[in-house]
């Protein structure tokens, strides 16, 4: 299993549909300050079910929708899809690919999809849960967050090891 593709449209500074293809091995994302690099990681946190606006550096969940610039109006919605390769049967599903999608309109609630079929957040959590993927785990490290594990209380560190157990 590996991350195959990420599609972002209307999420934060990504006004147009943007596609990133990933391969196994190492990929680097570079660019000037403020160009949108950390927004890519935010898109991944979000599609994996992140519920806290603060974790996405905003004050409300609408803050993830492209807000516009001096010439352009904001988007009406944000949509992110993450395509995971499943040829090795990592997820107990009959598909060679698992496409997770999250969509939100300015007016309301988030909708979730798995391989284009509507599903609930709970379903996404269930397939990811015991695999160590997703926001609690130690596999997504946001900007400036690396030292948090050193400054955390000893009980929090224990929770991290419990999760790995």
């Amino acid at each position: 299993m590996y991350l195959k593709k990420l599609e972002i449209n209307g999420f934060k500074s990504f006004a147009h549909k943007t596609e990133l293809y990933f391969k196994p091995g190492m990929t680097a994302i570079v660019g000037p300050n403020g160009s949108g690099k950390s927004n890519i990681l935010d898109a991944i946190y979000w599609v994996l079910g992140e519920q806290s606006a603060k974790m996405l550096r905003g004050s409300s969940m609408q803050d993830v929708i492209f807000a516009g610039n001096s010439k352009r109006k904001g988007s009406g919605r944000a949509e992110v899809s993450l395509i995971l390769d499943n040829t090795d049967g990592y997820f107990p599903l009959d598909f060679s690919e698992v496409k997770l999608t999250r969509r939100v309109l300015r007016s309301g609630e988030s909708e979730y999809f798995m391989n284009k079929t509507p599903c609930r957040l709970k379903d996404i959590h269930e397939i990811l849960a015991d695999k160590g993927i997703g926001k609690e785990a130690y596999t997504l490290i946001g900007q400036g967050k690396i030292e948090e594990v050193l400054n955390a209380k000893p009980e929090i560190r224990r929770k991290i090891i419990e999760e790995a157990a």
Binding site: G25, T27, A28, I146
Partner: protein, 152 residues
């Protein structure tokens, strides 16, 4: 449950000792249970001692030493419970050139088994990647992607 936690703790601790010594070219590090008798409530302390220095609390470590110690802990977890991918956003901001190089070497070997995606400003880290994506804002406020290089 208790047994599984304790076994995992021992494995992570062993990996942490090895990876710390690798990243710091020596020195000793260890995870210590604050209450070993109470496996269900105990916390975990991190002890780190760069080579030749006196053992002191981790709060006295320098900015770069703290980042490398935290990375060693993270890599120890990944070693014991591998994940298919991991994403790091500018984790080398506090590192000097020698440490960025050592981190790059470790990430290169890690990427043989775990897909590694790094967001970075440092040249040494970029050089280790097979795929490079550039993000720019040709139109102000609108991010656009430019694919930069694909090494063989």
């Amino acid at each position: 449950v208790k047994k599984r936690f304790f076994d995992t703790f021992l494995e992570v601790n062993a990996a942490f000792e090895d990876i710390f010594a690798l990243l710091f070219k020596g020195g000793k590090a260890q995870l210590v249970l604050t209450e070993p008798e109470q496996l269900l409530e105990t916390g975990i302390e991190i002890i780190a001692q760069p080579k030749g220095k006196k053992l002191q609390s981790i709060s006295l470590l320098s900015g770069g030493e703290k980042a490398m110690t935290a990375l060693a802990f993270l890599f120890a977890l990944l070693h014991v419970k591998p994940s298919p991918f991991c994403i790091l956003d500018e984790v080398e901001a506090a590192l000097d050139e020698a440490n960025v190089d050592r981190l790059g070497q470790y990430l290169e070997s890690l990427s043989q088994s775990t897909q590694v995606i790094v967001i970075t400003h440092r040249k040494e880290t970029m050089e280790k990647a097979q795929v490079l994506y550039g993000v720019t804002m040709q139109e102000v406020g609108v991010s656009k992607l430019v694919s930069m290089k694909l090494t063989s």
